[in-house]
Symmetry: C2
Subunit: 119 residues, 2 copies
């Protein structure tokens, strides 16, 4: 098994995706993702600056993101550098695509049905 989290490692697709969405479903964490999407690895202290929260709170949010596989971290001297890992977000996007496509298909069939029974 890869170094994924328990939630992400689950076979149930719904649970796996839900954990990613839940991680994204907080504006503090969304802001952290935004900051890390610039590609640069950043330490906890640095990420704390500009977030009105304590370092410990930011750390907890980062651990949530890590649990969902959205970021990974590595130690460098006395600091821990976090970086964005896009995999789970791509999966989530794919899931949203599937849902959207299923809905559009259903809508298309409905319109075809109406057209066939009307004219």
């Amino acid at each position: 098994m890869s170094s994924r989290t328990k939630a992400a490692a689950s076979n149930h697709p719904e649970r796996r995706h839900a954990s990613v969405f839940a991680a994204l479903g907080d504006r503090t964490r969304l802001a952290l993702i935004g900051r890390l999407s610039c590609g640069e690895r950043q330490s906890i202290s640095r990420l704390t600056k500009g977030s009105r929260l304590t370092r410990q709170a930011v750390t907890k949010h980062l651990r949530v993101l890590e649990g969902a596989g959205l970021v990974m971290c590595s130690r460098k001297g006395r600091e821990i550098l976090f970086e964005f890992t896009p995999g789970p977000m791509e999966e989530a996007k794919t899931y949203l695509d599937e849902v959207g496509r299923q809905w559009e298909d259903a809508l298309g069939r409905l319109k075809a049905f109406i057209a066939a029974h009307q004219g």
Copy 2:
């Protein structure tokens, strides 16, 4: 109305997106979305069947989805029919696209930089 539901009505983009992700970040709600993505409007009772939860719990989840704009409902006689509304999900997907693109761009620049200073 919960604070999250209020957030959905807010203009702040980060908050708005977070509320959509938060709504999707629960496997019960994700399953409800899956069921509604077939395009058919369904009542609360019907959506309750097959979900091991009480009707009231399902209702609450539906209200959360409604608060995020992911579903809408309309009364028909004695029942309330919920239907999937894809707008916010599309917005969320767009947001994920932007984050992903920003990351890829940054990565591309980094690789170009390394190549330029190496060979």
